[in-house]
Each structure stands twice: as structure tokens, then as C-alpha cells.
């Protein structure tokens, strides 16, 4: 009787603790979204209302019509899609080669990938800017795409090497016995099997590029080439901050990243542990 009561109490406390952490995680996001669909008067109300009685899409309308949001979004999309495509294609080729290497070569390669991934942006920005400037690519979207490859490529490699390793080599050997060429094996057997891994790494790369701030901030100075995070930062400047519009724009930027992460959540942690911890 006593033991089961004690047990019941423990479980209650564990649930309470979890709910506290869920609220800690979720409430700010709820607040962001709920503020974005209020009329201006409700937003600036003191004391603030947790649940607004009135619903308004005014802020969204302002963001989409009166600001450069759509232009910024198309720039972000272009940069993210192109850099993802380049990174994932090259990474798939390289990762396949590395995953079929003998132990030593693979070890050196995966250490290299890891080091590349750990290099902070702030350390890379001076050489990248100087290099792009020499090539005449500073302040262009192509230049920005190249800088985004510097982080999305190692990340895609990281995921794909561990993914290719899970594809048994016996499948390839069987095809080769039947006279298939290396390229045929890669194109017709390996790539289809690796499609989930390739899709996952593409989502990751897109997401990394979509949220990137520093490179876009330094490389791009023309307003019509800016990406969403930098453009949004520009919205904050000035005496009077339009909080409602900022909330709406933030929600619009955040939705794709939230959906992506939730879709690949399970793979994310296992990939992270396999990639990051096992190197």
C-alpha cells in the first residue's frame, strides 16, 4: 500500500517535471505565434493578454505586401536550393568512395570532415571574403552559395558516409559478378537504396542554409540580394520597432524549419550520435 502510494507520487512528480520543461520549451513559441495573429491594439496592451479574443492577419498582410519579405524569401530559397544541390551531389559521390575505403583511409577522411565541420564561421569569414573579392564574387548570390557549401558539404558527408556504410557490400559484389560496371552499380543500385539518407541530408543542408546569418550578412550588401535572416535583422533597426510584423515574419521563417526537423527528428538524433560521436 505504502510502496504503491510512493510510486504514484514519484510518477506524478515526473509528469509535473516534464510538463514544466514542455512549457519552458513551448510557451515562447506559442507566444510568438499568438502575438503574430493579433490586432495591433491587443499586441501593445498592458497588461498583456495570454489569449487574445480578437484574431487578425493584419501583420501578415503588412509583411507580405509592404515589405521586401517575398524578395528576401526568393533569394533565400535560391541560395538554399542551389547550395544544397551542389553539396549533396558531391557529398554522395565522395561519401560512397570513402565508405568503401580500407580502414585507414576512411579514418583520415572522416577526421578531416569533422575538423572542417568544427571550423567556426568567424574564423573562415576573412579568407572567404578575401577570396571571393579576388574572384569578383563578393556581393553576389553565387559567392554566397559557395560560402554555404563550406558548411553544408561537410555536414552532408558526415551523414552520408555513415549511411552508405549500412548498405551491405555483398549487394554490389553480386551485381559485379553479373558483369555490371562500377558506375552502373552506383547509379542503379546504391543511389536508390541511399535515397532516404540523401533526402535527409538534403533537408539538413537546406535548413542550414536557410537559417545562416553571418556569411549572408558580410558577403551581401545589396538590398535586393539579401536573404531572410539578414533582411529580418534589418527590419529591427530604427526608432520604432514593428513588433507585430516581426512576429509574423519570424513565424513564416520558422515554420519550414520546424516541419523539417519534426519530420526527421528520429534520424536527427541517431545521425548526430553516429556521426558526431563515432566520427
Amino acid at each position: 500500500m505504502f510502496i504503491s502510494f510512493k510510486r504514484q507520487l514519484t510518477i506524478t512528480f515526473v509528469y509535473l517535471g516534464l510538463i514544466v520543461f514542455v512549457l519552458f520549451s513551448i510557451f515562447p513559441v506559442f507566444w510568438l505565434m499568438s502575438c503574430s495573429i493579433r490586432p495591433l491594439l491587443d499586441l501593445m496592451m498592458v497588461p498583456p493578454k495570454i489569449f487574445s479574443s480578437e484574431f487578425s492577419l493584419e501583420f501578415y498582410k503588412n509583411v507580405l505586401i509592404r515589405t521586401s519579405f517575398l524578395k528576401l524569401m526568393s533569394n533565400s530559397l535560391l541560395v538554399a536550393l542551389v547550395s544544397t544541390f551542389i553539396s549533396v551531389s558531391f557529398a554522395a559521390m565522395c561519401a560512397y568512395s570513402i565508405s568503401r575505403m580500407k580502414f585507414r583511409g576512411m579514418n583520415i577522411a572522416s577526421r578531416g570532415i569533422l575538423i572542417a565541420y568544427m571550423f567556426p564561421q568567424v574564423v573562415l569569414i576573412v579568407p572567404l571574403f578575401v577570396g571571393l573579392n579576388r574572384l569578383g564574387l563578393a556581393d553576389t548570390r553565387l559567392g554566397l552559395i559557395l560560402t554555404h557549401i563550406t558548411f553544408s558539404f561537410p555536414f552532408a558527408m558526415w551523414l552520408l558516409v555513415s549511411f552508405f556504410k549500412t548498405i551491405p557490400i555483398e549487394i554490389e559484389e553480386a551485381a559485379k559478378v553479373d558483369g555490371a560496371s562500377n558506375f552502373f552499380v552506383f547509379r542503379m543500385i546504391i543511389l536508390p537504396l541511399a535515397l532516404p539518407g540523401i533526402a535527409t541530408s538534403a533537408i539538413f543542408c537546406f535548413n542550414l542554409s536557410w537559417r545562416e546569418f553571418l556569411y549572408a550578412f558580410v558577403i551581401i550588401s545589396r538590398d535586393n540580394l539579401k536573404t531572410l535572416p539578414v533582411g529580418l535583422y534589418g527590419f529591427i533597426g530604427g526608432e520604432y520597432v514593428k513588433w507585430g510584423e516581426l512576429m509574423a515574419a519570424s513565424t513564416l521563417i520558422a515554420i519550414p524549419t520546424m516541419v523539417f526537423f519534426l519530420l526527421i527528428q528520429r534520424y536527427f538524433i541517431s545521425g548526430l550520435m553516429a556521426g558526431a560521436v563515432k566520427g
Binding site: 520543461f21 514542455v22 579568407p127 563550406t150 527528428q265
Partner: protein, 303 residues
């Protein structure tokens, strides 16, 4: 003639096919060279010049850039703020993460998937959104936190969290914790799930308290994951830039000017590219030691 051409073509395809593995590595090797070798070499070369963002390079200055940085009181200041930022964030992120993971790991908890997903949400947000969101929540006039704290009676007047010298760093650390703890929680939780049920059963039969189970069963099993996470998070938090820059820009009064912001300002505000390169080299050296630790940790795990 025609047959010869076809033969040559066939040879090239065959050649490509035989060495496909090598050809496939070429783009990767080029990109990796551009990411690893080129920046190190360029940074080192530039760090010995008077490179200027507008005037360009006119002469070599030897170690002048390094000496100037080391003698600069603001550099020492940024070392101090970086330490506060990194240690504060690590302690809070790991405490929150570990507690959450242990709660989730309780075998009697149902709907773990939902809890896990909801807890993970902050980590999915872009940093620009995180910073706008927290600037709004902690807004001096309309912020919900000020309202709640005044209502409960913790503070008497609204606080300007990100501009007061006392509250600015703790506020940033809380924001960073909110963003980063979900990742740690879920990583530790993944590690906890690899502990066999029998371990807990034995502990229970032996009459171990929860604390004893934690020290003797749980902690040894997740030690390696904790070490790896700690090193990775140290590197990432140490290298953070936008999380602070987008909120305070390093202010007020350089109180949140961490090393990365200090370096950014050297290059892009004061235009001293040479000095920014010298600072990058210094960061490289610090990072190099962190990576060595990480590799040591990896070896430890492989054994």
C-alpha cells in the same frame, strides 16, 4: 577509323569506371582543401600584413597585429565575456538537459514521443527567430516576463533585461539555454535508452536508492556521451556569433562582446582585416586544443 575512335572512347569509359572511386573523391578533396587549407594559409599570411578592407595591403608588419591584440584591454575583456558566456551556457544547458533526459527515461511515463517532440521545438528555430522572440518576451514595456514577474512580486519595476549591465549576460545565457538544452536532453536520452533493463533490476534488488542507481549505473553508462557532448557544445558555444550579435551587438559597454564579436568588429567595423586575420589565427589555436581534446575523447570511446 571509326572502330578506333569507338575503341578509344571505350577505353576512357573503362578507365573512368575502374578509377570511379578516385574520380568521385576529386570534388570533395577540392572543397575540403578550400575549407581547411586555404583559410588557414590565408589567415596566417594576412595576419602579418597591414591588410585593410578599403586600402588593401601595403606592407608586412611582422608580429605587430598579434602584439596589438594581446595588449588591447578589449581583447582581455572579450576573453572574460567569452568565459562567462561559455561556462554559464554549458552549466545551464547540461543541467536542464540531464534532468529532462532522466525524467523522460522513467519507465512509467507514457507518450514519450509527444514530450520529446514538444521539448525539441526551440532547437528547430533559426537563430534570427530565437533572438527576435526573446527580445519581444523580455521587452521592457510590453514583455510578458516583466509583466509576470511584477505581478508575482519578484521585481517592482519593469527591467530592461538586455540593456542593463547586471542582467544582460544572464539573459543571454538563459536564451541560449532555452535554444540548446533540447539537443542535450535528447542526446542523453538516446544514451540512456541503451542501458539494459537488467541493470536497473539488479540495482533495485540490491536495494539501491535512486541516487545510488544514478551514480553507479546511469552515470558510468552515459559518461562517454556526456564527454563528447560537452566538447562539441563547448566548441559550438565558444564559436557562437549571431546569438549575441543579433540581440546586443556586444553591448552595453562591451559587456557581451565575446571573442567572435571582437574579431568581427576588428575586420568589418574597423576595417583592419590583417588584425582580424591575426585574431582568427589565435582562435584557431584555441580551437585546435579543443579539437585535440575531442579526438582524445573519440579514442577513449573506441577502446
Amino acid at each position: 577509323m571509326k572502330g578506333e575512335k569507338a575503341g578509344a572512347f571505350k577505353n576512357i569509359t573503362e578507365l573512368f569506371d575502374r578509377y570511379m572511386g578516385v574520380f568521385f573523391l576529386v570534388p570533395g578533396i577540392i572543397i575540403m582543401g578550400l575549407i581547411i587549407v586555404y583559410p588557414i594559409v590565408t589567415n596566417i599570411l594576412l595576419s602579418f600584413t597591414d591588410a585593410h578592407l578599403i586600402r588593401g595591403i601595403s606592407k608586412n608588419v611582422g608580429f605587430d597585429n598579434y602584439l596589438r591584440i594581446i595588449k588591447d584591454p578589449f581583447f582581455m575583456n572579450s576573453l572574460y565575456t567569452t568565459l562567462l558566456w561559455t561556462v554559464g551556457s554549458l552549466i545551464l544547458q547540461f543541467s536542464f538537459g540531464l534532468i529532462t533526459a532522466l525524467l523522460l527515461n522513467n519507465p512509467n511515463i507514457k507518450a514519450k514521443g509527444i514530450f520529446r517532440t514538444l521539448i525539441f521545438v526551440p532547437y528547430t528555430l533559426p537563430i534570427i527567430v530565437v533572438t527576435i522572440l526573446w527580445r519581444w518576451i523580455l521587452n521592457r514595456f510590453y514583455g510578458i516576463i516583466n509583466y509576470l514577474l511584477v505581478a508575482v512580486g519578484v521585481i517592482n519595476n519593469n527591467v530592461s533585461w538586455f540593456s542593463s549591465s547586471v542582467t544582460v549576460m544572464p539573459s543571454l545565457v538563459v536564451m541560449n539555454t532555452w535554444f540548446g538544452y533540447p539537443l542535450i536532453a535528447l542526446s542523453i536520452f538516446a544514451g540512456l535508452q541503451t542501458i539494459p533493463k537488467e541493470f536497473y533490476e539488479v540495482a533495485e534488488i540490491e536495494g539501491a536508492s535512486y541516487w545510488q542507481t544514478f551514480i553507479y549505473v546511469i552515470l558510468p553508462s552515459i559518461k562517454r556521451i556526456l564527454i563528447m557532448l560537452l566538447i562539441l557544445r563547448t566548441i559550438w558555444i565558444f564559436n557562437a556569433f549571431d546569438m549575441i550579435y543579433l540581440v546586443t551587438g556586444g553591448g552595453p559597454n562591451r559587456m557581451t562582446e565575446i571573442l567572435t564579436i571582437y574579431g568581427y568588429n576588428l575586420g568589418w567595423k574597423e576595417y583592419w582585416i590583417g588584425r582580424a586575420a591575426a585574431l582568427s589565427v589565435i582562435l584557431f589555436v584555441i580551437l585546435f586544443f579543443l579539437i585535440i581534446f575531442y579526438m582524445k575523447g573519440l579514442k577513449l570511446e573506441e577502446e
